[in-house]
């Protein structure tokens, strides 16, 4: 019978929690920057000139049909060969932003497409400027519609971010790797690390649901 040995794992809990905090920061930053990238790409796809639309389409298809692990290897090992040396955490952030941007663009595009033409016409009839229409008539309701998809994509992003441990970033999975090489209690270490990821995922979905109830109840408050 195998003797489970959790004592060294719990003794080094602070190491894991520091890693968890890096994971949270990394995914939150990737989400925030990725969201801006997504909105820009979605607008470009909806109303940009043809070559721009083509480029955005290419970006989305390439990212969505290749593994994140290969994307991060491509960036982390590739960029220094053209003289751009990034530390592991920055490379991880860049890769996560590039990855999230492709999925986010598709989600936001679906939101924009859900706005009917009549809404935009109503906005024009009310004398709103083009920018105002984009902001209040298109973007705001579109983001509200896709909020659930965006939040589940964020949780997926946070879980995917564990892959950045392979380029020696300092996230939760990497903290687990360090700890298992110190203690050799591999199964126990990864069990605790997995439990922390699960707690993060559950925690974030509870927070997102609370935000949704507070901010997006229908009919919309001003």
């Amino acid at each position: 019978m195998y003797d489970f040995n959790f004592a060294p794992v719990f003794a080094a809990m602070d190491q894991l929690l520091i890693g968890a905090w890096v994971t949270v920061k990394l995914s939150a930053a990737a989400m925030a920057i990725g969201l801006v990238v997504s909105i820009i790409c979605a607008v470009a796809k909806a109303s940009g000139p043809r070559p721009v639309r083509f480029l955005v389409d290419g970006y989305i298809e390439v990212i969505r049909n290749t593994p994140f692990l290969v994307q991060i290897f491509f960036l982390y090992f590739g960029l220094p060969t053209i003289g751009l040396r990034l530390d592991p955490n920055s490379a991880a952030l860049l890769a996560l932003v590039v990855n999230f941007g492709a999925y986010g663009t598709e989600i936001i595009r679906a939101g924009i497409e859900s706005i009917t033409k009549g809404q935009i016409e109503a906005g024009t009839a009310l004398g709103l400027s083009r920018l105002q229409i984009y902001r209040y008539v298109v973007m705001k309701p579109a983001l509200r519609t896709v909020y659930p998809s965006l939040t589940s994509q964020f949780i997926y992003l946070m879980l995917t971010s564990s892959v950045v441990s392979v380029i020696s970033a300092t996230d939760l999975a990497a903290a687990g790797n360090d700890l298992q090489s110190q203690t050799f209690a591999s199964f126990e270490v990864y069990l605790v690390v997995t439990a922390i990821y699960l707690a993060l995922a559950v925690g974030f979905s509870v927070i997102f649901a609370a935000i949704e109830r507070a901010a997006f109840t229908y009919p919309m408050s001003r």
Binding site: Y2, E61, V62, R64, N65, T66, P67, F68, L69, V70, Q71, F73, F74, F77, G78, T81, I155, L159, T160, S162, V163, S165, V166, A173, G176, S186, F187, Y190, L191, V193, T194, Y197, L198, A201, V202
Partner: protein, 218 residues
């Protein structure tokens, strides 16, 4: 010794596609069986089956695939099995696919109108006949597009098996990169091969989805 990246390296990487495909096929076949069981448990009338299958799904959807691979890889030792990347990767990806396909197929089973089930029961069909001849055939039609979509996710997911030492497409890329140190060419090539595997599936899934939504929204 660093050698230049050449045609032979492309062949070497291309040959590794079969291991990616083999692992995807094993995980998909295993996941199809597991996923069907999970989906049936999720939609069953027995409460504890529904709860247990829901927890299984939440567990796999709420944790990283990489950690699932590690846990199976190191956990096999605990159950007295030899540590073997093939076995660990197959088992972990099968469990992973079971959870995701279970959740996808649960939705498809629930999308079959309730009247179908009631009519089947009224005709005196019991669970087995009702499922095999009434509900599942209709659910299967709905499930094709999202299942193909998940297959893309699964193929990409097999790349993580390289981290526990399974030599497939990505791992071969790493090996070639260590010898040639041409990361853009090597991982670009690897990415192109993944793209060739996944893109047609993505397009098919999207086309089927559009066709299906057109057929059902009239």
């Amino acid at each position: 010794m660093i050698r230049p990246f050449g045609f032979n390296d492309i062949i070497l990487i291309a040959e590794a596609i079969r291991w990616t495909l083999a692992l995807s096929a094993i995980a998909f076949a295993g996941g199809a069986v597991g996923g069907l069981l999970i989906a049936l448990a999720r939609t069953s009338d027995t409460r504890w089956l529904r709860t247990a299958s829901m927890l299984f799904i939440r567990l796999f959807q709420g944790t990283p695939l990489l950690m699932q691979l590690f846990l199976v890889f190191f956990g096999m030792n605990i159950f007295g099995l030899p540590i073997n990347p093939w076995l660990a990767a197959s088992l972990a990806l099968t469990l992973h696919a079971s959870a995701f396909l279970g959740e996808i197929w649960r939705g498809c089973i629930e999308a079959v109108p309730l009247g179908q089930r009631e009519a089947a029961t009224a005709l005196g069909l019991h669970y087995y006949d009702r499922m095999t001849s009434v509900i599942l055939p209709q659910a299967a039609r709905i499930s094709v597009a999202p299942t193909v979509g998940f297959l893309v996710q699964l193929i990409k997911g097999t790349s993580l098996a390289s981290i526990i030492g399974f030599t497939e497409l990505t791992r071969t890329g790493q090996i070639v990169n260590n010898a040639t140190f041409s990361p853009f060419q090597v991982f670009g090539t690897v990415a192109v091969f993944y793209f060739i595997l996944c893109w047609p599936l993505s397009l098919t899934a999207r086309r089927m989805e559009i066709r299906f939504s057109r057929a059902t929204t009239r």
